[in-house]
Symmetry: C2
Subunit: 404 residues, 2 copies
Amino acid sequence: MATVKNRKRQSGAPLHLGEGANPSSEVVHFGDGAALPLDSGASLTPFSVAYRSYGTLNEDKSNVVLVCHALTGDQYAANKHPVTGKPGWWETMIGPGKPVDTGKYFVLCANVLGGCMGSTGPSSTNPETGKPYGLAFPVITIGDMVRAQMRLLDHLGIDDVFCVIGGSMGGMQVLEMAANHKERVFSAIPIACAARHSSQNIAFHEVGRQAVMADPEWRGGRYLDEKTSPSKGLSVARMAAHITYLSDEALHRKFGRNLQDRSALTYGFDADFQVESYLRHQGSTFVDRFDANAYLYLTRAMDYFDLAADHGGNLAAAFKGTNSRFCIVSFTSDWLFPTEENRAVVQALNAVAANVSFVEIETDGGHDSFLLNEPELFETITGFLSSAARRRGLRFAEAADAVF
Amino acid sequence: MATVKNRKRQSGAPLHLGEGANPSSEVVHFGDGAALPLDSGASLTPFSVAYRSYGTLNEDKSNVVLVCHALTGDQYAANKHPVTGKPGWWETMIGPGKPVDTGKYFVLCANVLGGCMGSTGPSSTNPETGKPYGLAFPVITIGDMVRAQMRLLDHLGIDDVFCVIGGSMGGMQVLEMAANHKERVFSAIPIACAARHSSQNIAFHEVGRQAVMADPEWRGGRYLDEKTSPSKGLSVARMAAHITYLSDEALHRKFGRNLQDRSALTYGFDADFQVESYLRHQGSTFVDRFDANAYLYLTRAMDYFDLAADHGGNLAAAFKGTNSRFCIVSFTSDWLFPTEENRAVVQALNAVAANVSFVEIETDGGHDSFLLNEPELFETITGFLSSAARRRGLRFAEAADAVF
């Protein structure tokens, strides 16, 4: 962490900016004539989609697993992160012999539209001004993110995916793709998500946005151009959000009221408690790898998500005609996307007689459980994918098949 | 509200400052020779306790109900607030014929030590410098707050209280008084609280403090002296906290995904959703009536609260020897101080064979239920107080006695 901070101070600019302009991953540029129509009515041109792949695409391109990342994730799902140097955010899930087995599947993960790791977002250059978009970037939706990913599939000549999988905002993309690009989805695994963002979740996001916008260094979104950094505001936003990703039980188990490197209360405002120190760390490291405006745009996209809205509030209608196989996963201690929200998706799918299985996993890990070492999650994904693979007639080399 | 805002702009200083220096309520000044010893080891001198009373003290001073306010409350429990012009924060509970019946009881409510409505706090003048204390104010505890209230009772010649009652941080004071000033408590009603602040609650408080401190106008706590105002940071802190006072269900019931004065999404960062508009209002009105440093100090006092800590972690030991009658109240949808936390107090009291009743009230109102129109809460308090009054041999005029 110290090294990271030093690097930031030396360069004078957040570390992720280099990645945003010139990602370590593959990137596809869609130029004029390939404008992306957006739900707002605007269209975006040019735009880029940065992505990473893992494993090998088979001959008939039938083994694609599209991984959709969450709010602050990116395309580096299963390899070292180019900014933080940490392992990929889903290395527990993706890799040789892992549930999403790169010995079997061709795994694709794209940075979302509106993000800051190489796909076009508010920190990208606005062709009309030659400066970073800032708030001139159009507000995007989960539908727009998925539309950009479909362009990536087109570019790679992939008609459909064997599976689309993701948690949280990633799960929203899974649901969006399954509902609005049905023919491209053989199977879908939305984890810890909802078909619409709740009032409480909108409220927490709004607090985060207000924290960013309250930072005078945000400068109405023009901080990149003005060479300032709303890192304090973004750090507060991350701290507030981070609490919602955990559970009361997990916080109690991990930290309780334990003191941080001291034997008694100091009667001051330093981080006396471990949980304070932990949160401050979460906030301060986040700002090195994430763009404040991207945080505004992506939280807004989640807030706007309401899959049933285009169907008169009837969620089942959104899935009518689906031939995809679904595996819905929720976690008992997830209070951000509680089981009821996930169950509402199951009920909608049942109402259109879709092929759906539903697993609620008992854990105290909270919303972030989909990123943690949760054996029941791994077993669930492994089993579902194996079954779906048999159904699709996928054939794998023997060694890979025997891993689980 | 508009008037309030105009007044603030005209004066150039937060409205509460006048109240802090010269409260509309009674105020007792404790001068040299009456220094208040604090849990930190420091002592405070001089100090003031501002309070309001309602009803009439009987001849033997046996009908005192001490009301302890919550984090952002004050002494104006049952009369118009001098800054906001709104009704007192507990007018549902306190008044003629109400559960805490001012026709029967002499109700006392003091602004807590560390507050900003007339009792000594960080916005008070530091006698050593002639300037506002700011961060030179000593960190105080719930124990210190109660100690200041005991001085007020001494000053008024009140040996003991018929009842001490309060919710949230007020409930913590109730527990503190019942544990550490046992002989002064005939009965106690701690509502929606806990004998120690949880890791999650410390975490939320830390976010709020960081939001305040991240505001460059906070100026290391010297904003009053430097004539700035960390209102943006304090507003964000209030917004985050406010979400925790409600429940997911209540937010869904009140706001859902309803839009604010518009028929469609605007694809921007204005408050599209009612819940956003509501939260922004909560944040912006709060800063007119509350001092940012007081917010830091009072949240810190709550974080430090751990009644069992002085008894080797044995909560029952804190109550050993109590002769008080207890009524513990929790709310099903309160996720900040969930029923289990309240039940832990009940169990500790049972372990020392205390006289305790416990009511968990079914409501979707969340933590703030103690401030809302909750008939079961009113019935509970009325019944408990009537029973306790009979036990104490209190006699009331017939009319008042017949109200319930």
